[in-house]
Symmetry: C2
Subunit: 229 residues, 2 copies
DNA sequence: CCACAGTGGATCGTATACAATTTGCGCTCA
DNA sequence: TGAGCGCAAATTGTATACGATCCACTGTGG
C-alpha cells in the first residue's frame, strides 16, 4: 500500500485517492479486505475519516461494504462486467464524437503524453500502472468533450472496468491497444467526429472481446452451495 | 418535512430516503439548507447518521456540501441541466428498446398502476408527488431492462432532472406527458423495441424543450466574475 | 472422533465530546 | 456616520468512547 509521504494532515480525498489508485493498479486485488483501523493507522487518521473514504469508494462501485463485516475490494459478477461495458458502449462513442469538435492543441499534447507514459510504464513492467493510465485516457476524452456528468459516470465505469479486467482478463501478455489510442488521437486532431465515434466503439468491443465472460463457477460463491447436491 | 412515523430506529437509508423524497417532490427547494442538528433531531438520531445520509445524497447530486458551511439542496446550473438531459438521451432510448424485449405481464400491470397513481396525484393537486412518480416510471423501465448499472445512473439523472424542473420549468400548468408514458407502455406490451426507443427519445426531447434553458443571469454563479470586467 | 454449544476477541456501528471554522454583531475610532 | 476590527455564537470537522455483532476457537458430550 502507498506510504504516507505528505507532511501532516491527509484529508478524506487523499485517502480515497491513494486507495483508489492501489485498486486501479491492481496492487489491491478484488476481494481484499480493508480494515478501518489498519487503514487509519497507515494514514495517521481516525476511523472517522477512513469510513468516509471507504464509503465514497463504495459509491463508485470499487468497494463492497458488508454490514458488520467490513469493506472489501469489489468482485464484479459476470452480469456486472457485461453491464459495465454495455454502459460504456452507450456513453463513450458519442462522447468521443463530441470531443472531436472541441479538441485543442493542448489537449492533443496531453493525450499524447498520456500514451507516452503508458508506454513507459509497460516498459518498466508496471502493467497495473499502465492500465490505470489507459483508463485515464478515456476520462480525458470525456473532459475534452466538456461533459462533466458523463465524465463522472465514466469514472465509475472505467474504475470498475479495471476490476473486471483483474478478474476476467484472458491473456497475461500485455496490452494490444495502444494503437487504438493513437488512432483515436489522430481522429481527434483531425476533428473527425465520425471516425472518433467509430474508433471508440471498436476499441470498446475489442477490450470486451478479450475478456473471458463465459459462464463459469462464480468464484467463492459458496463452496457450501457447490457441494450441496 | 416528513414526520418520523416509524417506531424506533431509523437507519441511514431511511433518513436519506425521506429527505430524497422531499427533494424530489419539491417540498425542499433548491438552495435550502439542511442543518445536521436539525435533521438529526427530526429523525431522532445523532449527527453521525445524518452526515452519512447527507453525503450519500451529495453523491447522487441532490445536495451540495460546502466545507464548513453545510449541506444545501443542489441548484443545477444551465450547463448541468443540459448535461443531465444529454446523458439521459444517451442512456434511456436504448434501455427502453432492451426493456421491450423482456417486459412481462406483471411489468405492464405495474407500469399502468404507476401511471394511474401519477394521475391520481395530479388530481389531488400534488404536482410534486406526480413528478416523483413520473420519474419512478423511467426507473422502472431500466429495471425491466435488467440493467442495474444503468438504472443506478438513471436514478441520479432522474433525481437531478427533478431539480432542473424545479428551477427551469416554463409553464406552471400541469403535465402534458402522461400520454407519452401510455404510448411507451403500449410499445413495451407489444415487444416493439423500435417504437419504444423512438418514443423514449421523443419523450425526452419533449421534456427538454419545455425547459427554459436560455442563458440567463446565473444566480449566485460568482458575483465576483460578473463584476470583474 | 465428530458435532455442537458457549465464550472471547476482533471488528464494525453509533453516540458523544472536543476542536476548528465560519459568520454575524457590536464596539471603537477616524 | 461609516468602515474596520474583534469577539462570541452557531455550525461543521474530527477524534474518541462505548455498544453491538460476527466469527473462530475451545471444550464438552454423545
Amino acid at each position: 500500500m502507498a506510504s504516507v509521504t505528505s507532511a501532516k494532515p491527509p484529508a478524506v480525498e487523499d485517502i480515497a485517492a491513494q486507495l483508489t489508485e492501489a485498486v486501479l493498479e491492481h496492487r489491491l486485488q478484488p476481494g481484499a479486505k480493508l480494515r478501518e483501523d489498519e487503514v487509519g493507522e497507515i494514514f495517521g487518521v481516525s476511523r472517522t475519516l477512513v469510513r468516509q473514504a471507504l464509503r465514497a469508494m463504495a459509491y463508485e462501485g470499487l468497494l463492497t461494504i458488508e454490514k458488520n463485516r467490513g469493506a472489501f475490494v469489489a468482485k464484479p459478477t459476470l452480469k456486472e462486467a457485461r453491464e459495465v461495458f454495455q454502459a460504456r458502449a452507450l456513453l463513450e462513442p458519442t462522447t468521443a464524437r463530441a470531443a472531436a469538435e472541441r479538441t485543442t492543441d493542448a489537449d492533443i499534447a496531453l493525450l499524447e503524453q498520456h500514451i507516452e507514459e503508458e508506454h513507459a510504464a509497460l516498459h518498466r513492467d508496471e502493467a497495473g500502472r499502465a492500465l490505470k493510465l489507459s483508463g485515464d485516457f478515456h476520462l480525458e476524452i470525456a473532459r475534452i468533450a466538456d461533459q462533466h456528468t458523463i465524465e463522472q459516470f465514466l469514472r465509475q465505469l472505467v474504475a470498475r472496468s479495471s476490476l473486471v479486467i483483474a478478474l476476467y482478463w484472458r491473456r497475461r501478455n500485455a496490452l494490444c491497444e495502444s494503437n487504438a489510442h493513437h488512432a483515436l488521437v489522430d481522429a481527434l486532431r483531425g476533428g473527425d467526429g465520425d471516425s472518433a465515434e467509430e474508433l471508440m466503439k471498436g476499441h470498446l468491443m475489442d477490450i470486451f472481446s478479450q475478456l473471458d465472460l463465459r459462464d463459469r463457477d462464480e468464484g467463492t460463491t459458496s463452496l457450501k452451495d457447490a457441494l450441496k447436491r
